[in-house]
Symmetry: C2
Subunit: 638 residues, 2 copies
């Protein structure tokens, strides 16, 4: 794929960085234009590289795994929300493909420094970090920050490397260093949270990547500046006037953040409560975005909010706890998912405690969704007597005990005691250690903990969780928007049409959008056609029409599917825990429902052109231009 | 004192900033050369301004108080350790004069921006911060960081204001905002800790001061560059070759930080233990600088250490706790005083817990000496049943309970519950609220908590604590160096010569050195003559000889004394608590000793030219050129 010589092209920096942490070799490689055209960037490009470079069956925490940081062709451009980068590797949590995405300012800065992405190989003998200033890339000793929280790490590294421009930092905290499976990569309070990418970074002894870029500016990233400018303007108009994103129109996402949907999800009977025992939470009014906005958040356009780079939506809010037991807490969030994971999932309705738990996850570098999910699971184990106060170090880990929840997050960050170990390594690992059929209510798929939508109240979400390439991810195909937002546009109880809905979301928007480098929140108004216009103006690629993007989306999704199949995953892994398949919801509008997965799965495979075990057929792979994948899964054509 | 037009002169920026937070008036005032010559800078200049501008009897937390940030003529110059600035006001903790000093990089940056100092007047209606970029000074809304810890505040403000140079930040945390008496001003992990200057800043609704300076460079701050260069070189040579400061010579201060003296202090029987109940601590080997260096500190010259600006000594060390209950803690320290206050004072020998407590004090913005002292006091109250577990919120606040100590610091930061209130407002306040003769073992003088030297094992320290102008301060006259370092050069048990020793330290070095803007650690080798050479080369002042500096020292000390007398303080306040005066040390080389204060005090007053009530005589004031003070204390001459 990669050849020497590194000219920039279109909106790509045109160059990848390849760093071998064992040999200390630093190579700059040309980004192949044909590959960029076929896989776009971020998720797509990373999938292409990892499928080709990783051997199946490797230990995700071993030196053979590779860790890829990648931007897309819209990252750092004039597009709205052009701030995403992805972190990809084989996941140690799910033993599957993983791409984890992050906003902030690090991704654009990497492109300004002249790189579309970087591939981290092997493992350093001791702790190191990378400092990148344009063409100069250094591997530096990191012993002086090894063991440090992510905020101190950022502070010290910025102080060390600030020159004529504030550097941007992505790093891990202590959980990443000790390779806890729920460790995230943190970039200035934002997280590439899911799938244990922080643990992979830690396994490589890589503490941080510091970037300062002067080489390019946003205007440099366009093939047809006029066309891009026009497309960009159109998107800005849509976003600013949207009911969801435009504050002028009372845009809920802007004003109440991702937490704006809490009321709807609870009304739908699908706000998972006390480890998914039910889908209706009592004290929801105290936890809604409206209440956070009223009680804890600073104004969304205040300077402290530090929105992601070039974002007109400003979904991110900052909570400052000014009174009570958790006073002094300044946290960027909590988001919808955090409010749920430390709230209803743990039976907690203490707003300030939730904010503190959210803060601690960023501080230590932990995936807030998975940690909260795991603590909820452990609370159920504790209440059932499967673990005792001896295991918890004396903490009374009952549902609803807000202080116990915060203490558990703290221990998870520190990895202290049995509780700290359990809470930082996820529910599958915990259920294996605890035994006694606790796996029946260990709420994950493929090892990744479920987020804040109970699939018994949204059949489509059940299918989505089961087939996600990195496990139970709400972002794989968020049918919740149609099934749970009030009033729902799709019947949440039926399985009919759900396979099609999931397939559609995966192909038409999610997979390929995650490869462009823009935020998914374009989805609240901006159409695939609008994104298409920006992509072609930026890249200059002669894509036929918007359907080409769907083809690319499908190509990438089949590639990550093939990655997982090569790792030994199959239909048996496209599943959900016992509780969701067998225990009916006890109350609410979807009372009595379980996820009827099998019927959706059969249809989904069929629609996808996959066989009855969920393996893409040779024909499908060939149709998508994935001949090299077909050869690997099926051998050379007879 | 101040006239219009602001030319730079000598090593002074020549300009003071005066900011009225109520009217939002921002004025730039010429620094008067004659006043600068007479009072040098920092402490001296601030004393001159505050004596002239403050009315006696004001509420230190009222709008009438003024808060002065001031540098000295060596701040930001080529001198070694030219990084100090002072924060001065009437102290709300001691109701006396207060100057609190801080290193780091903020002071030099202020001079680079073109200011020797600034005077903050009155009180803003709502939270604000100042942003200073050279000539541009703005008062900005601080609601978006109000309530935030100091680290988040620094991070957010640096991100907001970083341009072509990293700004420097001094700020307060939640304790300062709520005007807790032990609140400090934090500048990038370093503290102007003592006397509640953070509370004064909070009372003005001033969250932070951000400074970026391009106007001057160190080379601009010299009248006679060649002479300065020569004097500077000489000081560097002394410091680098010194047994204490020079690592080449096994310099203990460099290698083991301020904690290098722990063994000596314990051997002297004066390491105050369990709220000064004794002066000998058992587990000292676990807490010595040598052990911190071995177990917790990163190498002193590692990049993460972030020494103060232009410091060749590097006494500051960074601890990273990598295992156990407090894993993930990255703290700059703990220093000698912190190790004591959270260690022996609380009966604790858990190194990691002490590091965590130190971290929390910086994080929240609390004076670590006073907070630890207060928690030790509360532990004694708890063990004696004067406060109960109801008062502590269920915390078992016994001596030696490391987790309880850390929890108490956390509560002090948050101001939560009765314990949080008590622990963040000092021992005098706590003893008043608790009553029951607890004031007998509330270890303070004039309201300021004692630091880590038991004066029953060093009579000179007893006198020093009693006569300190801001209360019980070890820096006022550190006779401990002669009385307690092993082997002692002065008999710690005698009172003979101690008045002279204290007077000498106050006049010859401490007071005037604290006005120059260099670190006191010059004292380990550098002589008053060496400092004199730097000062005259920098300022160009035609001081007669080094004795002129002593005269200035005495002038400033008399001025702050007069400030206190005008506030109603007198001999009755030059005292120590019952325990130190009446309860003999129970063990160690100074077993049986109490502080024999009266005999030293009488001599001290006499030596000072003060009357028997400790009031400077009219003659003394006039001799020192303090006629305006004499007029105020004695009325116009008959």
């Amino acid at each position: 794929m990669l050849v020497k010589g590194m000219p920039k092209f279109g909106s790509y920096a045109g160059q990848l960085l390849r760093v071998n942490l064992r040999t200390k070799a630093i190579k700059k490689e040309q980004l192949d234009k044909r590959i960029a055209k076929a896989y776009v960037g971020s998720k797509g490009l990373s999938a292409y590289i990892l499928f080709n470079e990783l051997k199946p069956g490797i230990n995700p925490l071993g030196p053979e795994n590779r860790l890829i940081f990648m931007t897309g062709p819209l990252t750092g451009t004039a597009a709205p929300m052009p701030n995403r980068f992805s972190v990809s590797a084989k996941s140690p949590l799910a033993n599957s493909w993983c791409d984890s995405h992050c906003g902030g300012s690090w991704g654009p800065e990497l492109k300004f420094a002249g790189y579309d992405g970087m591939i981290i190989e092997d493992r350093s003998a001791g702790p190191v970090y990378l400092n990148i200033v344009d063409d100069t890339v250094k591997i530096l000793d990191a012993n002086f920050v090894w063991g440090s929280d992510t905020f101190s790490t950022e502070r010290v590294l910025k102080d060390r490397h600030c020159s004529d421009r504030m550097p941007r930092v992505a790093c891990i905290g202590p959980p990443g260093e000790r390779q806890a499976l729920l460790a995230s990569v943190i970039s200035e309070v934002r997280a590439a949270g899911r799938g244990g990418m922080g643990a992979v970074m830690g396994s490589k002894n890589l503490k941080a990547i510091v970037v300062t870029g002067h080489k390019y500016k946003p205007k440099d990233f366009a093939t047809n500046p006029e066309a891009l400018s026009k497309a960009v303007k159109s998107c800005y108009t849509i976003l600013s006037q949207g009911k969801v994103t435009g504050p002028a129109k009372g845009g809920r996402l802007s004003i109440y953040g991702t937490a704006n949907i809490i009321g709807d999800m609870n009304t739908a009977g699908g706000w998972p409560t006390r480890n998914f025992q039910t889908g209706v939470f009592g004290d929801v009014s105290e936890l809604k975005g409206e209440t956070y906005a009223d009680k804890l958040w600073i104004p969304r356009n205040a300077p402290g909010s530090r929105p992601c780079y070039s974002c007109p939506v400003l979904c991110a809010h900052v909570a400052i706890v000014r009174e009570g037991k958790y006073a002094g807490t300044f946290t960027e969030g909590p988001e919808y998912e955090d409010i749920w994971s430390f709230g209803p999932q743990c039976g907690v309705s203490n707003r300030e405690a939730i904010a503190r738990a959210d803060y601690l996850c960023d501080y230590y570098g932990l995936d807030s969704i998975s940690v909260g999910n795991t603590i909820g699971f452990l609370m159920e184990c504790y209440e059932k007597g499967l673990i005792t106060s001896e295991d918890t170090g004396g903490i009374d880990l009952r549902f609803g005990n807000a202080d116990a929840m915060v203490a558990a997050v703290d221990l998870a960050g520190r990895g202290f005691g049995k509780l700290g170990e359990l809470a930082s390594n996820g529910v599958r690992n915990a259920a294996q250690r605890i035994g006694k059929e606790s796996d029946k209510f260990a709420i994950h798929s493929k090892g990744l903990e479920l987020p804040a939508y109970c699939p018994r109240a949204a059949q489509g979400m059940g299918l989505n969780y089961a087939v996600g390439d990195r496990g139970a991810c709400h972002l794989h195909a968020w049918t919740a928007g149609s099934e749970m937002m009030q009033p729902p546009s799709m019947d949440p109880k039926t399985t009919e049409g759900k396979a099609e809905a999931v397939r559609h979301l995966v192909n038409e928007t999610n997979t390929v959008w995650d490869s462009t480098g823009v935020c998914r929140f374009h989805g609240w108004g901006v159409s695939p056609q609008d994104i298409f216009e920006m992509v072609i103006a930026a890249t200059g690629f002669a894509y036929r029409d918007v359907s080409t993007l769907s083809e690319i989306g499908e190509r990438i999704d089949n590639l990550t599917r093939a990655f997982n199949i090569r790792e030994g995953l199959s239909k048996k892994d496209d599943t959900l825990p016992y509780r969701l398949l067998k225990e009916p919801l006890p109350e609410g509008p979807c009372k009595g429902q379980v996820v009827r997965l099998e019927e959706m799965l059969t249809e989904y495979y069929k629609l996808s052109g996959w066989d009855t075990e969920g393996k893409p057929t040779r024909e499908k792979l060939t149709d998508l231009g994935l001949d090299f994948v077909a050869r690997e899964l099926y051998g050379k054509q007879a």
